[in-house]
Amino acid sequence: MAKKGWDEFEIGAMLRTFDGKIDDIAGTRQEDRAYSQNSSYTASVADWRLIKPIFNKDYCIDCQFCWIYCPDVSIISRDKKLIGVDMDHCKGCGICVEVCPTNPKSLLMFPEQADEETEIANWPKKDEEEA
């Protein structure tokens, strides 16, 4: 695209979130939506993160606290079950770990370079004092 001068821009801008038409947006899951390149869903903020959450489904009770309190729509929940973390949109704030009620927690924060399988194998055991 050729570079535009300051007086060549259109006044106001309209961005379309979707390519094509979606009739029932509240009934369409994110994976079924045809996002256009203007939706921030197609962007990534993964490079903001210093620590990342790792989800261990063995301890999860599907309470969905992490889903409701996630500020970045990064906790993926389908059919009332938590299925994972959206690593493109997670900023690593750690709220999901704080609100997790299980013992031991089913979500924990690890350094960005940590390996998911190794960490799940070495998951902390139940904390008896806290219980």
Binding site: T17, G27, I68, P71, D72, I95
Partner: protein
């Protein structure tokens, strides 16, 4: 489609398809998007949204990206509410003339604004919307400071808070004026519903939002939104701070119906001393110096007095 979405518990709520997208540029741990998600997920209807200038607006609409999956407009600092009110008037006019293509769809009109855009700059515009009786909802994301421009005080900033235009130091303890009681001011317009909500009490919040959608007329919602950057706490503690704000009764949760009928909707089982709320935040750090310690006592007295006032109003039904 216009019937109310049924949300019995959090598992049922979690089947909602989000209409607010990630990869917005809000700070990690920002409560704004938690509130926005809870509002948008409270209904399945189409939505017409606006945001006044503020963190939410600049972070969710960075060209060429938008984080909204609904019709969304931004115009200026002050007129987010009137933009939505105009859209609502047009919708009503077209509906009356029978020129809507899908008249059975029942869109909801919501404007989001920060406390600066509601308590100060957009005050006159919001007041106008409430007075004219548009069928809109105005949601304030109340973080008690102009966080977007670097932490200047707004008329929502509470006493003792250190903001960049009311800094704490040798001669001052920071902000000297108390917070404006916006919910009461808006209720005084005689609007059908005004309420104070907090994102940690999601069920209470969703109930209030749905009630707001079901009434005919303007609705005012004030939502507490802890700001990790300006309140100075760790991003992971956002929900902890929100818990503290509701359980210390600094942000009591209540609703005012038709401008006079006040109901308290959340009574904490264990009321926490205000000192804990203040201690958790960097902006009140100086209050714990010996010379300013008397302010903590005053804080507690003010919060107790407000709680007593709310309870008496609830009893008196006036």
């Amino acid at each position: 489609m216009s019937e109310m979405k049924k949300i019995k518990n959090l598992k049922e709520f979690s089947t909602s398809a989000d209409r607010f997208e990630g990869a917005n540029l809000l700070c990690p741990g920002c409560a704004h998007s938690i509130i926005v998600r809870e509002v948008l997920n409270a209904t399945n209807d189409d939505m017409v949204l606006s945001a006044s200038t503020g963190c939410l607006e600049v972070c969710t609409a960075v060209y060429p990206y938008t984080s909204w999956d609904a019709s969304w407009i931004h115009i200026g600092f002050e007129n987010g509410s009137t933009a939505v009110a105009g859209a609502e008037s047009m919708y009503k006019a077209l509906k009356n003339k029978g020129r809507l293509k899908q008249p059975e769809r029942n869109p909801k009109f919501v404007s989001f604004a920060g406390d600066g855009a509601s308590y100060d700059i957009g005050f006159q515009w919001i007041s106008g919307c409430m007075e004219r009786g548009h069928n809109i909802m105005h949601v304030v994301l109340d973080n008690e400071v102009y966080a977007n421009t670097g932490g200047q005080r707004s008329s929502s900033t509470p006493i003792g808070s250190s903001a960049t235009t009311s800094p704490a130091g040798r001669v001052s303890y920071g902000e000297k004026k108390n917070k404006k009681d916006m919910v009461a001011i808006m209720a005084a317009h005689g609007i059908p519903y005004s309420a104070q909500v907090a994102p940690n009490k999601w069920k209470d919040m969703v109930k209030k939002i749905q009630h707001g959608f079901s009434v005919d007329g303007p609705v005012f919602i004030n939502a507490v939104s802890p700001c990790t950057t300006e309140w100075k706490f760790d991003p992971k503690d956002t929900m902890h701070l929100t818990d503290l704000s509701t359980d210390t009764l600094v942000f009591p949760l209540y609703e005012i119906i038709d401008g006079h009928e006040l109901n308290i909707t959340y009574r904490p089982k264990n009321v926490i001393p205000v000192e804990e709320y203040l201690a958790a935040q960097g902006r009140f750090k100086h209050l714990f110096k010996d010379e300013y310690k008397y302010l903590i006592k005053e804080w507690q007295e003010r919060v107790d007095a407000n709680w007593a006032y709310l309870q008496r109003r609830e009893e008196a039904r006036v």
